[in-house]
């Protein structure tokens, strides 16, 4: 039993949950009042959009690419949600669907021309930002009532962010880790040649994964305006960095299709909580992103240690 518990494989899989648990325990210790319905709700409010953006990024990372435009993209969908979706719902839905379509197209472009995804998505970040500014030149707009209702819903006993995060994690876990086609999609990141040799279309898998990335990006934007009520083109600029950090904190690897949806959501929660933790520690909010960077480095260092152990055994 001990052998299993100290095996690198187990340690690796438990790391994301352990990071979150340590952070949460520290918060509860410093500020016991947070151990309540409203305490948790308040601290984890923004966990839902961040978790969704992280899941979006994870889909792109699964096929060995990286999306540097997810932040501005979430911003754009938030802007669409707070304007078109309210004034002309049908047009709003069409616009959001078109965004997902563009994502699928990007996947195809990256695959056909063998382009570095970093540069392509970098270019797209300008495009998304530009579209946001066109749609909503100044901060404002108004979130649809139904989205606000969903995001403001109060479940008994367990706060909404926890239920939402759990649902997201389980649904994506089911789809990507347990469905039969999910195995093929992850395989396309692990060994594309093998997937090609087994007769699958790599183009299709790349397009689908990009489209899923776009889909969760849309959800992230909509859930975000459900919390903020209004939108702004720059509302989610930080999300690019958050989403990458979340995937890595969640145990995902940059290449090789080794990702974990549950881990990614845990990573997103960890990032969200860092802010509260620093406030309770009475550390200036100036250090918030620094602390996030620090946590990222510590987790990566732990992972490097586990890997070394793995290499030795």
């Amino acid at each position: 039993m001990w052998a299993y518990l100290s095996s690198p494989r187990f340690l690796r899989s438990i790391l994301p949950a352990a990071s979150l648990a340590v952070l949460l325990a520290a918060i509860f210790y410093i500020q016991p009042r947070t151990m309540s319905y409203f305490g948790l709700k308040l601290m984890l409010q923004y966990a839902v959009p961040i978790a969704l953006a992280t899941i979006a990024q994870m889909h792109i990372i699964t096929v060995n690419d990286l999306d540097l435009s997810i932040g501005p993209f979430v911003g754009l969908t938030a802007c669409i949600g707070a304007t078109l979706l309210v004034s002309t719902p049908l047009l709003g839905l069409l616009a959001l669907a078109a965004c997902i379509g563009v994502y699928a197209g990007l996947g195809a472009l990256v695959y056909w021309r063998n382009l570095p995804s970093i540069v392509v998505t970098l270019g797209m970040s300008f495009v998304w930002m530009g579209l946001s500014v066109l749609i909503l030149p100044t901060p404002g707009g108004k979130a649809p009532v139904w989205i606000k209702a969903i995001m403001g819903y109060e479940f008994p006993f367990i706060p909404l962010p926890i239920i939402a995060a759990t649902t997201i994690a389980l649904v994506v876990h089911q789809g990507l880790m347990h469905s039969s086609y999910g195995a093929v999609l992850r395989g396309a990141g692990g060994n594309p040649k093998a997937i090609g040799r087994a007769g699958w279309s790599l183009l299709k898998s790349k397009m689908l994964m990009y489209a899923l990335g776009g889909f969760f990006g849309v959800l992230s934007g909509l859930s975000l305006i459900g919390l903020t009520s209004a939108a702004d083109a720059h509302i989610a600029d930080r999300y690019t960095l958050y989403s990458i950090a979340g995937v890595i904190l969640g145990g995902g690897e940059f290449v090789g299709g080794r990702v974990s949806p549950i881990g990614a959501v845990l990573g997103a929660l960890t990032l969200t909580l860092t802010g509260s933790f620093l406030i309770f520690m009475k550390i200036s909010p100036d250090w918030q992103i620094g602390a996030q960077g620090g946590i990222l480095i510590i987790v990566l260092a732990l992972r490097a240690l586990i890997k070394r152990k793995e290499a030795m055994s």
Binding site: R9, R186, G187, G256, G257, R258
Partner: protein, 493 residues
């Protein structure tokens, strides 16, 4: 169909070119139901290319591919192959390391979907592993990347024999036993015979001639992209196979006379090396001015030993296993991945190893660079108008010459050559042999990994590798092709 057995595959005049290299030159071959076809040949003989064509992962340039009596050449692909019951276990593994064993089974079978697919995949592979490799110790939920290389090989083989909705007629096994231990290799070969008895067929490619002789019904020998012999296995012996595979020693390439005839050990010792993983056995020694050959089948540990020597020299570290006395240069065998800088001119490619001595003040002196390029252009006869042209404007042989110039023009006293003549024309080869001999006579030491007998004839002393270890050594006077081949196929201990 002339025979009673039904014919699964019939290949007629299949050709395949990679750029200027003709990998397959009109191959004719067939496989009948219920037989095991052995396929042997040296590296680069075209075996793997042929199998890729048959598996649908490479398309042939020309020729007829008839499967179950249907001509499919025009639109043959992996899906077609699977639909017709043809599967292939490739030499480099085709499993996804991030997926579990069961998930990798799913990747091969389109039918494994819907509710309960994972259960079905687990059962499928568990049963097959039990059947082929009893006592395998693999769990169907293990992530493949966490398995040892041998276990991965077992999974891949077992996967190829699993059946869902698509039929299974022919399994191609490309060096299937290369990462299996003795016992599991036996289990596999036994299974091959069992499959054959059930009217399934196998193609067995192996460098272990014993395996092929014992377990195949019929053997094809390939050489230079052609089938050079085809007979029932019982009509071959190990020696007759080796003879068919072997390169005919051409006149003029017989053992090169060495007028000086150095006595080994009279000059200083330059390199001492023993394989990292080798506990005991022969130690590689190279004395100043010697050309030392590293022989054996490709991938038997020669390259690893050369890299080990190179690293030791670069880091200036002397370990128990390796000692190098002097600067080294390495000439890579795989030009594209280990040698050439494809964006650079010939001149830049030649000079990179020697730039340090061309630095004046802070900067590289272009005059010295040009001088070196010009000198070696003439000395080694690189066929180009302008050394400032891109390196890729040269033919393969001349690119290799540029790499020789890079090493020989450097300050290296020890030159490591990792099968550098692969795919080089005979004229170029003879010129380079001459040059190596001259350089050795003037005091340079050469370590030469080669699979060609002709090149070993240029060596003063030869070490033979098998399965990662040096199994024997031969002085120049004792060197014969037969001895080299015999040791190459020896089981290393």
């Amino acid at each position: 169909m002339s025979t009673a057995r039904s014919r699964i595959v019939d290949l007629k005049d299949v050709t395949k070119k990679f750029g200027a290299v003709r990998a397959l030159v009109g191959v004719n071959a067939h496989v009948d139901a219920g037989e095991c076809l052995g396929l042997v040949g040296h590296n680069g003989a075209g075996k793997s290319t042929l199998m890729n064509v048959l598996a649908g992962t490479l398309s042939s340039d020309d020729g007829v591919i008839t499967i179950h009596g249907q001509d499919l050449a025009a639109h043959y692909n992996v899906r077609q192959a699977h639909r017709n019951g043809i599967r292939c276990v490739f030499q480099e593994l085709s499993l996804c390391p991030n997926l579990t064993v069961a998930e990798n089974v799913r990747v091969l079978h389109t039918a494994l979907k819907g509710v309960g697919w994972k259960q079905r995949a687990r059962r499928l592979i568990r049963d097959k592993l039990e059947e082929i490799f009893p006592g395998h110790g693999i769990s169907t939920d293990d992530v493949v990347g966490d398995l040892s290389i041998g276990k991965r090989q077992m999974v891949e083989i077992a996967r190829a024999f699993t059946v869902t909705t698509e039929p299974l007629h022919l399994v191609i096994l490309d060096e299937p036993t290369s990462s299996l231990d003795g016992i599991t290799a036996k289990q596999l070969l036994k299974h091959v015979r069992k499959a054959v008895s059930k009217e399934q067929s196998c193609i067995l490619i192996s460098h272990l001639l014993g395996e092929v002789l014992d377990y195949s019904d019929r053997i094809l020998v390939m050489k230079d992209g052609e089938v050079v012999a085809e007979r029932p296995a019982s009509e071959f012996t190990r020696d007759s196979l080796v003879a068919k595979m072997g390169t005919v020693i051409e006149e003029g390439s017989a053992k090169v006379e060495d007028p000086a005839h150095k006595v080994r050990g009279t000059t200083p010792l330059m390199v001492r090396a023993q394989d990292k993983y080798q506990e005991t056995g022969v130690e590689l020694l190279a004395y100043k001015g010697e050309i030392v050959g590293l022989a054996g089948l490709a991938g038997s540990g020669q390259t690893r030993t050369l890299i080990q020597i190179y690293d030791a020299a670069i880091k200036g570290k002397r370990t128990e296993k390796t000692a190098v006395e002097g600067p080294v240069a390495l000439i890579a065998g795989d030009r594209q991945t280990d040698g050439i800088f494809p964006l650079w001119s010939i001149s830049q490619n030649v000079c990179i190893r020697s730039l340090k001595r061309m630095v004046k003040g802070w900067m590289i002196d272009p005059a010295q660079e040009d001088a070196m390029a010009e000198k070696w252009k003439n000395k080694i006869k690189i066929k180009t108008m302008n050394m400032d042209d891109n390196i890729l404007s040269l033919s393969g042989g001349n690119q290799q010459k540029a790499l020789f110039a890079r090493a020989l023009g450097s300050d290296a006293e020890i030159v490591l050559m990792d099968d550098p003549m692969r795919g080089v024309d005979i004229g170029t080869k003879l010129e380079v042999y001459e040059l190596i001999r001259t350089e050795a006579d003037s005091g340079r030491t050469f370590l030469w990994n080669t699979t060609e007998m002709e090149e070993l004839n240029n060596c003063d002393y030869v070490y033979i590798f098998s399965e990662g270890k040096i199994v024997s050594e031969l002085a120049r006077d004792d060197l014969t092709e037969e001895k080299v081949l015999r040791s190459s196929f020896e089981k290393g201990n």
